[in-house]
Symmetry: C2
Subunit: 692 residues, 2 copies
């Protein structure tokens, strides 16, 4: 990845396509660069003008003799490539504002390919095309066609939507959110999410990264980078396009269980990304993290001047990792010393409606010494006598002497407005309603806890080496099926592959149409059609269960031959069912192979007890996921029920992940059912479908 430092910290900028004409994008950018205090040199290029904003307008980039760190291109799409090509010898950083590339039609897509090839060849950094530009408030640098200059601070915001970036800057002004970088990534041709994350990880001015994304360009690279960066800086992403239908046709049961948004969810979790459910969540998290240090413990103390909002705050803790701490008698007694008798000294501490600033200040001082508390939340409703501003002052004063997270929930309209402004200017995050505050603190706490707990991860994953011998054998099996123009492997073929990855399958007898039934088959048995043309066997009566004797077997065979003339069949022992799982590989268009697993049986879709593994690094890694995931109840002792063998199941799933890594010819893999036991018996993959 190229170093983006120069792009985002240029000493000189040329605007190609700058304009004198008001309302034009090239005019807004020119104006933004010279009127907002940027200290570097700015050059304008436009052959149609002599002067722009009283500066010389060059006929071409070539005319400028000085060094150009960054060129901003605001030209019709058609001439972008030639202009960049001409400049590529001396300019290495570009922002291509121009639209008319891959976001439009075939012609645009071709144009973008050409630009990309050029960038590749000449090693150029190009932001965009089809973007708003970027803004670095610390440098007073607005290299975009959005007006104004946000306050300088520690928040980086990266947006796939320029319009949303503009709206967010407007909200940020009101909420006093301060930025280190605002970057519009446009079509993400050369500089994608992963590249931006890498840059922002190194940016000393950035503490927290917010992103609005509609898609992700390079899934595996994104996961790797996000996983790395989120260990030092929280990444909050609002991922739009949830309901987007997956493009790929899905022919396996496992595949159908994994929606594209489920996979995004799993990836974000794996990478330690905080997912904002909506814009409000995004703002809440950004404001909180920008202004505070993560709480060191999960205990929170809440003070309030009214019971109702206290109850609502208590409710908000339901299902969260953070919780209301229990003050001990020492703390309670110290609170009682100055609080009226009707106050509540249980947490939330109710200071009562007539609380003045002194009661808030005293209560905070006492709670600061409450053991195990990592965060303090001050709730306020504006009663007639409430000195909102003074209370804000005393909270700010307290914050300056504590190492705990301090946040406020001032509930109201005009009566609390000035107080809130004070708080925000004082660097205290305020939330309009209790649940917003509690949710944000909870996510921040959880991010920090994971960060501390998780010392392994990416590096380990890298160390997994491909078993070349095994890979070759798998390739041979798949190659043969392909030669025979089959879209799926036969069960005996799948069985061979499963054996190589440690997945047990039942013994089968395979017979082709016309063969006579061999002797020595045990009962009860199951007979199935084994054909790449019959993928949903059960639905098509291609499975006959519970065959009890030779006579029934012969009848079953006759029926099968009738129903599926010319196909192959298999006979398996009928196994005892204890619990059915389903497991498989799904190739996601963005993130590559994903291991899907969950509870099987006829109600799989009803229960949706399904989870995903994204490039697990070891059997232990899988086991950890199993122990925390949706089917974790199988591994716990439940009402006299023995736990299932987590290691056995983890080995199978890890085996599948190795297979996915070593055999990229596999389009989908479906084990259904995977019978698992809690009496020492090994799990068996009763049916294995491998689509190639």
């Amino acid at each position: 990845m190229s170093n983006l430092k120069k792009l985002f910290n240029p000493g000189s900028i040329a605007v190609v396509g700058a304009s004198q004409e008001s309302g034009k994008v090239g005019n807004v950018i020119a104006k933004n660069l010279i009127e907002l205090g940027y200290a570097g040199k700015v050059f304008f290029v436009n052959p149609k003008h002599d002067k722009i904003y009283d500066q010389r307008s060059y006929k071409s980039l070539g005319e400028i003799v000085e060094k150009i760190d960054l060129a901003i291109i605001v030209l019709p799409a058609k001439i972008v490539v030639p202009v960049v090509r001409e400049a590529a010898g001396r300019v290495k950083n570009f922002v291509v504002i121009s639209a008319g590339f891959s976001e439009t039609d075939e012609e645009g897509r071709e144009r973008e390919k050409e630009l990309e090839a050029l960038a590749e060849e000449k090693e150029l950094n190009i932001l965009g095309p089809n973007c708003l530009g970027f803004i670095i408030p610390k440098l007073n640098l607005n290299a975009s066609f959005a007006g104004g200059m946000p306050k300088a601070g520690n928040v980086s915001f990266v947006s796939q939507s320029g319009a949303l970036a503009v709206a967010i800057m407007d909200i940020a002004r009101k909420e006093n959110i301060q930025f280190s970088n605002i970057i519009s990534v446009g079509n993400k041709m050369r500089i994608d999410e992963a590249g931006i994350l890498e840059y922002l990880a190194q940016d000393p001015d950035t503490k927290v990264i917010g992103m609005y994304l509609e898609g992700i360009k390079n899934g595996p690279e994104f996961i790797k980078m996000a996983q790395k960066v989120s260990k030092t800086k929280p990444i909050i992403i609002i991922k739009a396009g949830k309901t987007e239908k997956s493009q790929q046709a899905i022919s396996s049961h496992t595949g159908a269980l994994a929606g594209s948004d489920d996979i995004v969810e799993a990836v974000f979790k794996k990478a330690g990304i905080l997912r904002a459910e909506n814009l409000e969540d995004l703002f809440a998290l950004i404001e909180l993290i920008s202004n505070t240090q993560a709480p060191k413990t999960n205990q929170v103390a809440v003070i309030t001047n009214a019971g109702g909002p206290g109850v609502l705050t208590t409710d908000a803790f339901d299902g969260k990792e953070i919780e209301l701490g229990d003050p001990d008698d020492g703390i309670k007694n110290r609170l009682r010393e100055f609080l009226p008798a009707e106050s509540s000294v249980a947490n939330p501490i109710d200071l009562l409606g007539d609380a003045m600033e002194d009661r808030y200040a005293q209560a905070l001082d006492v709670l600061d010494s409450m053991e195990g508390v990592g965060a303090l939340v001050c709730v306020l409703t504006p009663q007639d006598q409430t000195p909102v501003g003074k209370i804000a002052d005393s909270i700010i004063a307290f914050r300056n002497k504590t190492d705990k997270l301090v946040a406020t929930v001032f509930i109201g309209g005009e009566r609390v407005e000035k107080g809130i402004t004070k708080l925000k200017e004082g660097g205290i995050p305020n939330f309009s309603f209790p649940d917003l505050a509690v949710r944000a603190i909870d996510e921040y706490y959880a991010w920090n806890r994971r960060r501390i707990a998780d010392q392994s991860g990416v590096e380990t994953a890298k160390q997994i080496t491909v078993d070349a011998g095994r890979q070759k054998k798998v390739a041979a099996i798949i190659g043969k099926a392909r030669e025979e123009k089959r879209g799926a492997l036969s069960f005996p073929e799948a069985q061979k592959i499963m054996a190589m990855y440690g997945v047990k399958t039942p013994n089968v007898t395979d017979i082709a149409a016309g063969d006579s039934l061999p002797e020595g088959i045990g009962f009860p048995a199951v007979m199935k059609v084994d054909s790449d043309k019959v993928l949903h066997k059960t639905d098509k009566q291609g499975v006959i269960l519970n065959i009890k004797n030779r006579e029934e077997l012969e009848r079953a065979y006759a029926r099968m031959e009738d129903n599926f003339p010319g196909e192959k069949f298999i006979i398996q022992p009928m196994l005892a069912i204890k619990t059915e799982l389903i497991a498989g590989i799904k190739i996601d268009g963005i993130f590559g192979p994903i291991i899907v697993y969950g509870l099987g049986g006829i109600y799989t879709e009803v229960f949706k007890m399904v989870d995903f593994l994204v490039s697990p690094s070891s059997v232990q890694d899988v086991a950890d996921s199993l122990a925390q995931g949706k089917i974790k109840f199988l591994f716990e002792k439940t009402r006299g029920q023995n736990p299932y063998d987590i290691k056995n199941i983890a080995e199978i799933l890890f085996g599948l992940s190795l297979l996915a890594r070593e055999a990229d010819e596999i389009k989908e893999l479906d084990i259904n059912p995977l019978l698992v036991y809690n009496d020492g018996k090994e799990a068996v993959a009763v049916d294995v479908k491998i689509i190639i």
Copy 2:
């Protein structure tokens, strides 16, 4: 229920405990009554003053010769009862502001009982005690100790927290929410939620009712009234105290499955109440419903000036009843006539970032004629050139000529502020973010759909008559067990009761310790201890399954006699298991008997496929609930699986509801498992535990 019309529309008011002293509650109320424009007569009573606000201060209520419609009592708790008693002959309506009643200690609870008895005897309406009072903006009547006068409108807000009411009025000022009534209910001694609902249903100025409740006083009455009122006026409740632990000890499995908040959820659903998850939801719904008519269809059209917010809006429709309509070619062509080529004419319609007010107006006009659309949402981000105010104007102008619901989502800070003020003053609900708008419209639509669909309900429920003969028989069985000081019925007793309510149980052989085993028992069989002292049989090895022959039975019996000396035992046939349900009766402290049912088996708690029935009116009513509830998948044809018999299960559950109605001696009832089949076999209650 007394008529509250006079209380909330008094022609004259006396303030007992009015005060001249600034800062006192009696002073604030006096001031609010005379300074804010109330047209009725106001009398002050306080023996310590001669004049209050230049008006005569009476020594006592008795001194006032004029008619007093309402007396507001602001006295120390101790003298409230005597004062009310003295006035009760001539004053029928009271607001008791004073605290110091049941919210405090035993003394306070006694005091409240005394006041209640007095009110009962003299037929008094009393709001409170321990309340803020009430405000009727239309009358310029602020009979509370909160300052200011909200705008008059169609929203009634009822609050169990006075402080929250104050905060909400403050927010409402900013959001331009206008009120018909603001009522603080305090301890709800005489006037509870049901009483207030009954009054507001008749109040012609009230279109929508918002409530903040921490508890519900009279559950059954509340359900009945809410069910009735919500058919004409939407009721939105934020119910605080979710995490409140249920007080009652729970000894059955079914009981443990029904948390108090789950039951509130079920009750609200039954009563057609819109439950606000938080204060923000409450405001969103109130603002929407106050200003618009419910959408007539579930199709929505969205216009936006930016792609990103369009995608976020689309996401917000995920899982909702309302959906984005598909414009037909006619509509698309008409849109294309005036939109730039790069615009999107699919829904959401993207007018692009340079859209001026004309593009918004034209698009709205076209979409107004889009077939099947019931609501239009206008999304806007403030690009530099966006004329926010003018766009607001054109949306208001459009709203004035359409019969569709119109709402806006103007996303931003300062740049959209004035536009939003315009919208709100023009009666257009605006939401800060797309998901808030979509969620609120969805709830409003669903309320209206249910309202139209649901023409039966309360009245039918009333018609269920008690079967006195059956009731007597049940009482006799329970009476006998009580005489024997047993806390639970034996299985044969429970079986007799089940038979009366149409619930099939297996044939059992019951034997007491020391009896010899009878002949003729079929195998496989199950042996169980049957004792009111062993409620969790399985956990305590009180069940031996799968007894195959006489020899095993004898061994089982010997073991049972060892483990449970002196107890009784039963022997049942071992039945084939297809699907296990769990069903039972739980007596909720507030709402009375609730029927709980769901998926059984060892993972009952894991799957939480549990639902609740609140006083169902018929077998059909239960069947409807089953068909829409969590176990509805059992009644659908799933992957070749036959559906289960919904009528059979509905009859059993309805039977339980009749039993709960007829036998209030039952504390809990637990059928676990209830074996159900999809092959024509009748469901069997294998184990029935009745706690008395």
